[in-house]
């Protein structure tokens, strides 16, 4: 088998084509949104929102609703809840994340324990099942990704200023509270889009690792986003090929590649910053 054959072989299957498209879109989206996660030092928010969405998925399962809808409602509610508790309670954001995410996740586990024989596809959301992406799922992924991308462009200056200097941004007429909530909702949507590909457990890695790798290599946000998106897309494609040929879990393979990229970037970054 030639290399070209090896590269093309997976595309003989419709589900593999959908998997590749979903992986690339999710890889890029998470990596770009992840830049804000990294520069704002919110690394645990991805974990938090993703775990919280589990309760929404269980409720949707019990009520025979669409999992996406259940997860989206719970994720957005948790994201806004984290923002509200941080703003109005006397706690830092990581404390708010810790309280709300464990509470919502416990609710999911509690509800699931009431179910006698929960179906395997509930587990798919914990670990991801990118090969099970349906045509409808793919369309939803593309639509939600487009919404998030447009919002990021629309709010570019607001997000940039609010991320660097929220106080002065506020005196400059930027509605910083609303910008913060908007970012949380965009994060929640990004996580929902990613759940089927990488799963609840690993989505946080895609939100943090490619952006953290890019951060080692550049000192400008637009460049960081381009680099992060490239790393995310590369890991998605390479990870999917690798998982196809070694028959491993695709989400885990993608995340492992991203981790490898991070350490390579760390080495390059340290070298570049060394004494001249």
């Amino acid at each position: 088998m030639t290399i070209v054959d090896a590269l093309l072989a997976p595309f003989a299957y419709g589900f593999m084509v959908r998997a590749f498209v979903a992986a690339i879109v999710v890889g890029i989206l998470c990596s770009v949104v992840g830049c804000y996660v990294v520069v704002r030092r919110l690394s645990f928010i991805g974990d938090g929102i993703a775990h919280a969405s589990f309760a929404g998925i269980v409720v949707a399962y019990l009520r025979h609703l669409d999992y996406y809808v259940g997860a989206a409602i719970m994720a957005v509610a948790t994201a806004l809840g984290i923002g509200f508790v941080t703003r109005h309670g006397k706690v830092s954001m990581d404390t708010a994340i810790g309280v709300l995410f464990t509470g919502a996740f416990a609710l999911g586990v509690f509800l699931m324990s009431q179910v006698k024989n929960y179906a395997v596809d509930l587990q798919d959301y914990l670990f991801g099942n990118i090969l099970g992406v349906s045509q409808f799922d793919l369309m939803l992924t593309l639509a939600l990704s487009a919404i998030v991308a447009i919002a990021l462009v629309f709010l570019w200056r607001d997000l940039l200023y609010t991320s660097f200097d929220p106080v002065v941004a506020q005196t400059s007429g930027i509605p910083t509270a609303r910008v913060d909530y908007a970012l949380l909702v965009l994060l929640a949507l990004t996580i929902i889009v990613s759940l089927e590909s990488v799963g609840i457990i690993l989505v946080a890695a895609l939100l943090v690792t490619p952006a953290a790798a890019a951060f080692q290599l550049t000192r400008r946000l637009p460049t960081m986003m381009l680099l992060s998106a490239s790393i995310g897309a590369f890991c998605a494609v390479a990870g999917l090929y690798l998982s196809y040929y070694v028959n491993a879990a695709s989400g885990a393979t993608i995340v492992l590649l991203a981790t490898l990229c991070f350490f390579v970037a760390l080495a390059i970054g340290r070298r570049a910053q060394g004494p001249i």
């Binding site: 200097d165 005196t171 400059s172 007429g173 000192r219 946000l221």
Partner: protein, 242 residues
């Protein structure tokens, strides 16, 4: 001439306690007001209230005759202490100074030639043009302070609020800042600046406001210094930040 900033019996609460009580002063355009007092005396609270970040609890505060929040975006440039932000943020010096144009540009309008010239001259004014493409993560405290002041200059505000700009900077930066502040005043713009260092108060300030939560003294720099010789003790007793 009508006052640029006017506070009457101003009381401001912060974190549930009165951080500033019954302060009355007026600042004319082209004057620099030095706000002096120990830590926790309400200096930052006064600047934040003037920037519209905190609401008066009682009394009135007017900037150009209006409540600060009623002014158009960018009319007031608030320069926080440099520790207020995370300097590892991925941006260059020029990126940060360019943010000063955001209030006038809004969400979408691209930078015009005039915007770029304003950014250039702001960088020149604080003498960091050679560093414009440097990552802000690599700046010294003095360079960080210059970057913040350049961002304020690029904003073309009508009022400048500087929170302890001379803290943690080298002598050369302090001299450069003094030059810029006096130029701003010479151009007819009012400046309010907090500080704990009094040695060169006469060079920096036209007027002084001495705070210790309450108003201790207010007047021209010469008057206040003459009446309150003991003010030097603020510095001697080490009220300044470590």
């Amino acid at each position: 001439m009508s006052a640029a900033v006017e506070a009457t019996h101003l009381t401001v609460s912060y974190d549930g306690r009165a951080a500033l009580v019954d302060v009355t002063f007026a600042l004319a355009p082209g004057h620099v007001l030095g706000i002096i007092g120990p830590n926790g005396s309400g200096k930052s609270t006064l600047l934040k209230a003037t920037a519209g970040l905190l609401q008066p609890h009682s009394g009135t505060l007017r900037v150009f005759g209006k409540p600060p929040t009623a002014l158009p975006p960018g009319a007031i440039a608030y320069v926080p202490q440099i520790e207020a932000v995370d300097w590892s943020f991925p941006a260059t010096v020029r990126d940060v100074v360019a943010m000063g144009r955001f209030p006038k540009l809004g969400r979408f309008r691209p930078f015009s030639d005039r915007d770029r010239q304003l950014i250039d001259s702001a960088l020149d004014a604080v003498e960091i043009r050679p560093l414009e493409h440097r990552a802000i993560a690599e700046l010294s405290g003095g360079q960080q302070q210059r970057t913040f002041l350049a961002r304020a200059l690029a904003q073309e505000p009508d009022l400048y609020l500087l929170d302890e700009p001379t803290t943690g900077v080298d002598a050369a930066t302090e001299a450069a800042l003094l030059g810029v502040v006096r130029e701003i005043a010479a151009a007819g713009k009012p400046v309010m600046m907090s500080t704990h260092a009094l040695e060169r108060a006469a060079e920096w300030f036209d007027r002084l406001l001495v705070l210790d939560t309450h108003q201790v003294a207010e007047g021209s720099t010469a008057e206040v210094l003459a009446k309150h010789v003991h003010l030097g003790t603020f510095h001697v007793h080490g009220h300044h930040k470590p």
